[in-house]
């Protein structure tokens, strides 16, 4: 994949080279929702698979510990993603709304979007994990 900016008109000189975005950069936007999806799938599949085989009033302790582990990993990943997004959002002087057709503003826009998506995903992950706090058996 070649950088999006290749062949494009020169950017304003004050844009640092590090803000150059490539086509791959878009994938960062999917990273936070993806972490959320993986966490949801992992918690759901673990609980469903375990309870389908276990007795109805079987203790969920093992599953709850597993969900706590998935949640810790997912939240850590999302906090790192949010930090990455925040840093890009704050690159340079601009405070938003990052809508100029420049290399730097694309950089900041993608960063801010990643930050917001990470925030939403952190909530989604926390909410998906909450039932495990209350449910003690497969019933």
């Amino acid at each position: 994949m070649s950088p999006v900016s290749q062949g494009a008109p020169p950017e304003t000189p004050r844009d640092p080279a590090s803000t150059a975005e490539t086509e791959e950069s878009l994938w960062w936007l999917a990273s936070a929702p993806l972490a959320w999806v993986l966490h949801l799938l992992a918690t759901y599949l673990t609980a469903a698979n375990y309870c389908a085989k276990a007795a109805e009033d079987a203790s969920l302790t093992g599953v709850r510990l597993a969900i706590a582990g998935y949640t810790a990993v997912a939240l850590l990943a999302l906090v790192l993603l949010a930090r990455r997004g925040w840093r890009r959002h704050r690159a340079g002087e601009s405070l938003g709304p990052h809508d100029f057709d420049t290399r730097a503003d694309r950089h900041r826009f993608l960063g801010f979007t990643l930050f917001l998506l990470s925030g939403a995903a952190i909530l989604g992950v926390a909410f998906a994990a909450l039932p495990a706090v209350f449910m003690e058996t497969c019933r």
């Binding site: 109805e56 909530l123 926390a126 909410f127 909450l130 039932p131 706090v133 209350f134 449910m135 003690e136 019933r139």
Partner: protein, 321 residues
């Protein structure tokens, strides 16, 4: 305009009362659910008022606000407040689950089976199981655990006044427990579409003092009473002659069918099929045109019976108290 509002308001609130209302709780679990509902209504009302007030202010305000203030307002009012509120609601709702799912210390004494389009219920009475249909009795002040099953399609068991709702799923045994706090008769409904007569798959729950409940159950465990007059005797004979016993049981007689509702004490129920008043006219109608009462019902229409024969069978069944 005001007069009209005054006329309509009581009608709206009338929907909150009655035998099938989650807003008129008569059971421990229904109370918890109603409390959550009212907390949400009041909380939602307050949020709505705030949003409306801000909208009116926003539309009328003439002067400009600093960007910093606007940014803070969006952050706290649009991000922090909804997040905290929804989290609190979720935690409050989830915290209801463990007590609602608690089956109490005893083994389930009541097995409920949802079938197209009626409810079979079996009570454990000592070593035996006593079968009844469409009318459950529950003791007040005690937690009664139930198993929920279905042999055909998915149904859902719900008595809004008493507690929560759980599906009956073929191949699975689900559980729920109700703990009536107020004596009375409450209406339950199938709340998962299950076929043409889904909306007519109603049943009733009589909540009564534990002593009255035990008396009722002991009576239901008895075999059917003998016909007391000539017409009832003729009805009993016709009932067997026309094969009713292939599907219905009348304990103490040759009728031992297990496909349809147990009719041993059908006359003791307040309703027929959960939807009709239990009287001669309803019994006659159910024998002659069950399809008109519950579309797609499995019971065939006994149109070949004469009026006199149908009346005799209805009279016999009415006497099975």
């Amino acid at each position: 305009m005001r007069n009209r509002a005054l006329t309509i308001a009581p009608l709206l609130f009338a929907g909150c009362e009655g035998v099938q209302s989650a807003l008129a709780p008569a059971g421990r679990d229904a109370e918890r659910i109603a409390n959550l509902f009212w907390a949400m209504v009041v909380g939602g009302g307050v949020v709505w008022l705030i949003v409306m007030a801000v909208a009116v202010y926003g539309a009328r305000a003439k002067h400009e606000h600093s960007e910093k203030l606007a940014g803070r307002f969006i952050l706290w009012g649009g991000v922090v407040f909804p997040t905290v509120t929804i989290t609190a609601l979720l935690i409050g709702g989830l915290a209801l689950l463990p007590p609602t799912l608690d089956l109490g210390p005893d083994e389930p004494r009541l097995a409920v089976v949802g079938e197209q389009f009626w409810w079979r219920a079996r009570y454990r009475q000592g070593d035996q199981w006593v079968e009844v249909a469409n009318e459950l009795h529950l003791p007040t002040g005690r937690r009664t655990a139930m198993t929920l099953e279905s042999p055909d399609v998915i149904h859902a068991f719900w008595v809004p006044s008493l507690g929560g709702k759980v599906d009956t799923i073929p191949g699975r045994t689900n559980h729920i427990a109700y703990e009536p706090t107020r004596a009375g008769t409450y209406r339950g409904a199938c709340t998962e579409y299950c076929g043409q007569a889904h909306a007519l798959m109603a049943f009733h729950v009589v909540a009564e003092e534990p002593a009255a409940f035990e008396t009722w159950l002991a009576h239901q465990a008895e075999p059917a009473t003998e016909p007391t007059d000539a017409e009832a005797t003729r009805g009993a004979a016709l009932f067997l002659e026309h094969g009713c016993g292939a599907c219905h049981a009348v304990r103490g007689t040759e009728a031992a069918g297990v496909i349809g509702p147990d009719l041993t004490h059908v006359g003791s129920r307040a309703h027929l099929g959960g939807v009709l008043p239990n009287d001669t006219a309803s019994l006659v109608r159910f024998i002659r045109e069950p399809e008109a009462i519950k579309p797609d019902v499995r019971m065939p229409a006994f149109t070949t019976l004469s009026d006199a024969e149908t009346a005799a069978i209805a009279h016999y069944l009415e006497g099975l108290r």
